[in-house]
């Protein structure tokens, strides 16, 4: 399972919808030949009459945009954290824990490969690729029975948050063609 991009998608959707609305309104007003200034004098007069709230409002809006924009950019570029897990007086590195869980997951019948990341203290993200024709229901059962329960026992926790994605591999394309009967080939060759 990939890192979630839900926040980025929500922000892009909001910004896209706003741009579409404003741009669309400008095009429509142009199309209907509304001959008024873009900065409407009525609005400007009202703003001059209420200067303090307008200033404060614009300032708040600007600061909100700065904060939101920086958070958005930081969230998009920051590397994902893989925290180590502390067990009493021993620290298990995220890499070691991921490798152990991956080795267990790859032992499950039907699993072709596994990618495991530690994404919390402790929380796991697993992506299992199953062979074509593998029994998905059995893998689902064994995943908790053999892999995650073992990890829970090892870490001494009752609940181990995990996000798991099961991908079934494609069937392989048939790369062998049916043989031509030898008699016919022999006849062709003899001609």
């Amino acid at each position: 399972m990939n890192r979630s991009n839900r926040t980025e998608r929500v922000l892009a959707t909001v910004l896209g919808a706003l741009a579409l609305l404003v741009g669309g309104a400008a095009v429509v007003l142009h199309r209907f030949a509304v001959d008024r200034p873009v900065l409407d004098p009525v609005v400007l007069d009202w703003a001059r009459g209420h200067l303090l709230p307008v200033r404060v409002g614009l300032l708040a809006l600007g600061l909100l945009a700065v904060l939101l924009g920086l958070l958005w950019a930081w969230r998009a570029i920051r590397p994902e954290r893989h925290p180590d897990v502390r067990l009493d007086d021993v620290v298990v590195t995220a890499r070691a824990l991921a490798a152990a869980v991956r080795a267990d997951a790859e032992q499950v019948d039907g699993v072709d490969g596994a990618r495991v990341s530690v994404v919390g203290t402790p929380a796991l993200r697993l992506r299992l690729t199953l062979r074509h024709g593998a029994d998905l229901a059995r893998v689902w059962r064994e995943l908790d029975g053999r892999v995650l329960s073992r990890a829970r026992d090892a870490l001494g926790v009752d609940v181990l948050p995990a996000a798991v994605r099961l991908d079934l591999a494609k069937r392989e394309r048939q790369r062998v063609r049916q043989a031509v009967p030898p008699g016919r080939m022999a006849g062709w060759r003899s001609r």
Binding site: R9, G23, A26, H30, R55, G69, A73, L160, R165
Partner: protein
């Protein structure tokens, strides 16, 4: 589309922050007694307004499409334990059903498309007509889905293409 969103996100974030900083700067400048920045005296009928508006609308539409297409569609499976969330993909669901349908006697080939709510099977057969094969394949596809630990089962539809049905 996921990659495009990952590339666009920091750029859009920085652009939004820069726009916000410009507004803050202009307000602070005005508060200090300076005039507002000069703004072109455009009317709605002026051509630059149409160009800027059209660019904004197209950019917004592109952004909406990128945001909509960059999500990974998932099919939830039952949670095997507290805190454990298991999902699979529509393609995997289609492969589970396709594997079972292709194993049926008389099925030459089958293509399956699946979503969270619906599974569509399109099988070809040289030996059986649709009236004979369709009920059996429907049962097989439903049984394949029934074996899966799913909170909600998708609806199944089956179409059989057979030379025997040709008039």
């Amino acid at each position: 589309m996921r990659v495009l969103l990952r590339v666009l996100s920091p750029l859009l974030g920085v652009a939004l922050a820069a726009a916000g900083a410009l507004v803050v700067f202009a307000v602070a400048r005005h508060w200090a007694g300076r005039p507002w920045p000069t703004w072109p005296d455009w009317s709605w009928v002026d051509r630059p307004v149409l160009v800027v508006g059209a660019c904004l609308a197209v950019g917004g539409l592109v952004l909406l499409v990128v945001a909509a297409r960059s999500g990974v569609s998932q099919v939830p499976l039952d949670d095997p334990a507290d805190g454990v969330r298991v999902v699979t993909t529509p393609a995997s669901l289609a492969r589970v059903v396709g594997h079972r349908v292709r194993a049926e006697d008389g099925v030459a080939d089958a293509s399956v498309t699946a979503s969270r709510r619906r599974v569509r099977v399109r099988a070809t057969s040289r030996l059986h007509d649709e009236a004979t094969l369709r009920p059996r394949l429907l049962e097989v596809a439903r049984a394949a889905l029934a074996d899966l630990p799913m909170p909600a089962r998708p609806k199944v539809s089956v179409v059989v293409l057979s030379p025997k049905d040709r008039p």
